[in-house]
Symmetry: C2
Amino acid sequence: MLQNLEYLFNPRVVAVVGASANPDKLGFHVMKSLTSGGFKGTIVPVNPGTDSIMGIPAFSSLGDFPGAIDLAVIVLPAKMVPGIFQECRQKGVKGVVLITAGFREIDDPQGAALQNTLAELARKAGIPVIGPNTFGMLNLQLDLNASFTPEFSLLPKGNIAFVSQSGGISHLVGFLAMRQNVGFSKIVGLGNRLNVDFPEMIAYLRDDPETRVIALYIEGMDEPRRFLAAMKNARFAKPVVAYKTGNSRTGNQASASHTGSLAGKHEIYAGALKQAGVLQVDSAESLLDAARALALCPLPGGGKVALLTGQAGPGIAAADVCESSGLEIAAFHPETQLLINELLPPLALRSNPVDMGPAWYNTQAITGIIQAAMEDDNVDGILLLMVFASANRDAVAGFSKLLFEWKQQKPVIACLLAPPGIWDEEIRQLEAGGALVNFPTPERAARAMAALWEYKKISSLEDRT
Amino acid sequence: MLQNLEYLFNPRVVAVVGASANPDKLGFHVMKSLTSGGFKGTIVPVNPGTDSIMGIPAFSSLGDFPGAIDLAVIVLPAKMVPGIFQECRQKGVKGVVLITAGFREIDDPQGAALQNTLAELARKAGIPVIGPNTFGMLNLQLDLNASFTPEFSLLPKGNIAFVSQSGGISHLVGFLAMRQNVGFSKIVGLGNRLNVDFPEMIAYLRDDPETRVIALYIEGMDEPRRFLAAMKNARFAKPVVAYKTGNSRTGNQASASHTGSLAGKHEIYAGALKQAGVLQVDSAESLLDAARALALCPLPGGGKVALLTGQAGPGIAAADVCESSGLEIAAFHPETQLLINELLPPLALRSNPVDMGPAWYNTQAITGIIQAAMEDDNVDGILLLMVFASANRDAVAGFSKLLFEWKQQKPVIACLLAPPGIWDEEIRQLEAGGALVNFPTPERAARAMAALWEYKKISSLEDRT
């Protein structure tokens, strides 16, 4: 099965069963996703009613295509799917993305019966199936957009894999990521989880070289023990961060109805996820923020943070978040403090947080302070918080060289915020060069650092067992 | 004093004392702010060393200008400021923005002494002074940017007044607002608060017709009783929302050092602010979100919310936030539920939250559901949560007419999220037409609704006293 998942996510030939030239049909949007995404492999539209779709030769059935087919994306009505599964088996298809809805999620018991039939067919054929009732999946590193949303092809490539129990949350996270320039390796909508569920995805992604962090959106689980076993097997090979909803009374009921699985009490899930070594967050925004920090920063050796700021206010706001989220404001080594006192006028906040504002025009002083904090053994991570004002346009350029060379030997999390068009290129280069990760507010930067330290503690606990 | 604040914020003639053509000087940036901001009044550069600055005739002193001067923006070194204050008094200047630093905030006792001298001079002259040690202030409705940050002129106009104890947080909030298209009436950096502090600003803004919501960033207060008195006097004329930092041990110490005023225990401040009828938030992002909701929505009559969603996941995430923030998920009136059941197939979540996804192609059904929820007496506010997928490009256009006509007789808070360029114009028009306010995630939309209900409860308490 894992071997076939490898084909499913890295196909050379993808068939779209139910491909269509009619924009009212999902089969049109899937074709558009595949063609607009830049996929380098072969696309095979399957539709008995036409010779070609979007200029690509169409075939009347899977069997009619002369070569091998790795992945079949199915968008036909539910009642036709068992027949297609038989064809997939005969053709030797390695994996299926089943977008079609109308199975276990509907009120009608025939839906559940049909899903059971499919499960049995897929088991016999050894075919992994993403779905049914999913928007699809993406392997961005392969430019493969096997979903009904062509706009997902605009997503940046990166090292975060996102596995989601909700198509709505997948789209939400994807569109937020586009606006924040967060990159993904893979995005997978589990849908009704015929035979590919969280445990299978964790096992697969554990060994996926393109994935550095696994992000999950969870509403409920059918088999928590299997999840725990998969996590145990992954043994902190890479960080797993999860956003679990359905914690409220209403949310819980709606979630049970939505995914057809037990949502269950929040406390039980929270305990189980913690035991499994999963970092938990409480919003879609935090899921992205924590995943980005885990993907782009080393883990801190401890929870002691240096707050280096361009203005006092953001430093104070970040200090509040740090202390309430389990971080410590580092007490500098006396030598560090001495050096900082030499570099800043007496009017500044010079102990931690350090208000570097009065030295804006002095690149050497700013660089000296940052370097002293980096090299201080009492400091486990740096929060660099600077808000643009006209007089400090060159500030970021001034300390970039040091950050590029330092390359986050300890995590450097920043809030460098400016009007649109100012500092954007400097920040992009710093992130691309692995010199820091940037967030839009000091509070979110501080929470991201807290997430790193929280995950470090979770993984250290595991090391001892 | 209030009369002179009116001149200060609505001047016809603004002098810049210390205006400069040298980009290394703050006097250059202030001139650039005023000239690039589109201010329609007269700008008077004051600098004895030159005939003109940026093509505008310069004068060697305030007295040399032949006409009256309403506002003087001062950017000269601290030791020269007492002399300039004397000139202001002789010239009959109505108000001062004192950008210069080097007063109470420095370690040197001479700074405090100089500030006391200025306070006495300003008191005698009856001149309100914003600052010292401030970035300045803006009256966006007048295109007046009297700050050292020309980029602030890019801010949209709106009905939120922001009064801040930190220049850094002012810039942070301003740049976030630019990216989120949040509009302001006025932005004021209090600085060292020579004689204009929170109480004076609250009293002034209470009667400012351009301000619908007063947003505050607070680190500490010298005279909490004066604040309470000012709030009592404002008696819920308009909502006041505050972000108070310095709550942690470190934040508290840094804050005391930064603003020179008592920060004090968080619990005491929280209690006092609540007693004063101030809505409290815990981040810069939440401050903007709550202020936007208060500026653009009516208050709900109760805490019962309808969750109308395009996908189940975002509805479940929002339900969690609603229940944990004091809102109730409304139980629909039986007639409403009957109507919704008729409009949606049995496979959907049809009680609250309502998953309208299966009816995407049916504009009449979507519109019918929204209208039924709006007209239901059991519903106090609507959360409308829809994430774009290719098949629902026209969804927003489909229900826009109804929302425009309804004009938020109850608050309508939305998370309509799409890739950049899709739905942007529809959402802009809906917000401009007062039909809804839009947020980037379902969680933030739900928290904004909770803020409205929280403020409604705070103001109702006051009504009873």
